[in-house]
C-alpha cells in the first residue's frame, strides 16, 4: 500500500475524527464525507486512496463509535500509524479489516504530504520522499489473522461455517 501522509498530534479523539452530530448516518460513504471534520477541514476534501494517517500517542481515544474507523477507511485511508492507540479504536480498525501500525519511530520520520509505502507483512515502512526505511513490529498473529481475512465479519462467518460475502 502507498499514499501520502496526514500527520497529527497526541490524543486525537473520536469526537474530532467523527463528530457526534453525524452519528445518525448509517452509510459509510456519507460518514467518510465528515472524516476528521473538527480536526482538519482539509482532510475529507484532500484524502485519496491509499493515504496514511500518522499520529502520536493514544490515537482514537474517547467514544466507542466505530464510525471513527469506518469514516477513515471509506475515505480511502489504508492504515493509521501511531505511537499508541486507544483500545476500542484499535479493535474497531482491526474488526473492519483496516490494519494499523504501532510505532514510536515512524511519527518522527515523516512530514505531512510525504509519499510513503508500506509492506505490512514484511514490517517495512518506506518514506519515498526522504528515502528512509523504517522497520516496525507486525501485529500479533491472532489480530493479523482477522485483518488478513478482511475483518471480523468474514472471520466470524468462517468460524460459523458460513459462505463469505
Amino acid at each position: 500500500m502507498s499514499g501520502k501522509v496526514w500527520k497529527y498530534e497526541d490524543d486525537i479523539n473520536t469526537d474530532v475524527i467523527f463528530p457526534g452530530r453525524y452519528l445518525h448516518l448509517l452509510e459509510p460513504s456519507e460518514m467518510a464525507e465528515h472524516a476528521m471534520e473538527d480536526l482538519d477541514s482539509e482532510f475529507a476534501k484532500g484524502v485519496t486512496k491509499g493515504d496514511v494517517v500518522v499520529a502520536g500517542r493514544n490515537f482514537g481515544c474517547g467514544s466507542s463509535r466505530e464510525q471513527a474507523a469506518t469514516c477513515l477507511l471509506h475515505s480511502g485511508v489504508s492504515t493509521v500509524v501511531a505511537r499508541s492507540f486507544a483500545r476500542i479504536f484499535y479493535r474497531n480498525a482491526i474488526n473492519l479489516g483496516m490494519p494499523i501500525i504501532v510505532s514510536d519511530t515512524i511519527p518522527d520520520k515523516v512530514s505531512p504530504g510525504d509519499e510513503v509505502e508500506i509492506d505490512l507483512g514484511g514490517g517495512r515502512f518506506t518514506n519515498v520522499t526522504t528515502g528512509e526505511v523504517i522497520e516496525f513490529d507486525p501485529l500479533p498473529e491472532f489480530v493479523l489473522e482477522i485483518v488478513n481475512v478482511g475483518g471480523l465479519i468474514p472471520y466470524t462467518k468462517r468460524k460459523l461455517g458460513l459462505e463469505d460475502d
Partner: protein, 418 residues
Amino acid sequence: MGRTIAEKILSRASERDATVGDIVMAKVDRAMSHDNAGLVSKTFGRIGVPHVWDPERIVIPIDHRAPANSIKTAEGHKLIRTFVKEQNITNFYDIKEGICHQIMPEKGHVAPGELIVGTDSHTTTYGAFGAFSTGIGATEMACVWATGELWLRVPSTYKITVKGEFPAGVFAKDLILYIIGDLRADGADYRAVEYHGPTMERMSVSERMTLCNMSMEMGAKAAIVPPDPKVEELLEGKMERLYTPVHPDEDAEYERTLEYDVSDLEPQIACPHAVDNVRAVGQVSGTRIDQAVVGSCTNGRLDDLRITADILWGQKVHRDTRLIVIPASREVYLEAMNEGLIQTIMEAGGVVINPGCGPCLGAHQGIMADGERCIASTNRNFKGRMGSPDSEVYLASPATVAHSAIDGVIADPREVVR
C-alpha cells in the same frame, strides 16, 4: 500467584485459567447497545445467522438521540424497533426510560462477577457493581449477537486505594477528575483498574458509578470496585438470576499500586479540550459561562439532583446562563419529582428535559454556538463535543455546575456547601 478480579472474571467467562496477557474467547453475560443498535443490526444482517444467540441477554435502550432529533435518527430508531420484534428481544427500552448505563443496573441487567459488553465506551460504569464491563464497536457487537462471545486480552490491573473523608463541597467526580489529571488520558490504557480502600467502602454505589464511568477517560478497559453488601442491597428484588461476587486474592499481582487521600482534595475541573486538562476550580473561577448542564451517565442520578436542588433552593439561575438538567432515568426523574427536586430546579430557572443523554454528545437538546462556553457534569470536553468546534466545555461536579449556574461564572461550590 493470586488473581485480580479481571483475571478471575475472564477465567470464568472463558472456562480456562486465564492470566495477564492471555487472549481468551469469552462468553458474555449481557450485551448492551443503544441507538447504535440500528447500525449493529445492519452489520448483523451481513453475517447470515438468522437469529441472535440469546435474545434474553441482549439489552437495547434508546437514549442518545431520544426522542428522535431528525428523520434519519427516526429511521434508525424504527430499524431497532423492527429488529427487536423480529428477534424477540424483550429487554428493549424505548425513549421513555433513560440512559443505558443507568437503566442497565436499574432493570437488573448487571450483577457482580458478570462479563458485560456494550457498544458505548462508558460501559465501564458497571464495575461499580463488581462486573467486568467494557466498551466495544458495532461490528464486534454484531458478532457477539451471532455467537455470544468475543476475544479479549486479559489486562493487567492498577490497584488504586482511596483514603480520607471528602471535605464539604468535594465529591467522587472531583476525585476521578483528579486521578485522570494525574494519570493522563492514556494512563490506564488497556488496563483494568480496581478501586479499594476505606473511602470506596463509604461511597454510595452511585458515587462508585461516577468513578468507574469516567475511568474510561484514562483509557481503562474495565474499572471495578469489589462488590459489598451495598451492591447486594441495591440489586435485591431486581435480579432473578444467581450471581457470584468476585474478589481479588490477597496476593493478586498488580502492575501498579496507587494511593489517593481525599482529605485535602479541592473541587476539580477539566478544562477545554481534554479530560486530563484538570485544575482546581479556584484556578479558573470567574470564567463566564453561557450554559450549565447537570446530567449524563456520569452524574445524572438522584444524589446529583439532590445536591443541585440544595444549591439552587431559593436562588435564581443567572440571567445570562441557561441551566439544563437531565435526570438519568425515568425512575430517577419520578423520585426527584417525589422529593420536590424538579420543582426547586425549575423555580430557580432550570430547564428539566427528558431522561437520556441530552446535549452530552452534541446531537441535540442544548447544542452550543460559536464562542459559547458550558460547564457540565458530563464526561467529555473534546473540541466540538457539545456543538460548535469553537465552543468550550468544562467538566465538574454537579455542585460546581449548580453554583456556577447561579453566579453565571465558574464558581467554587465550597462557598455554599458547608
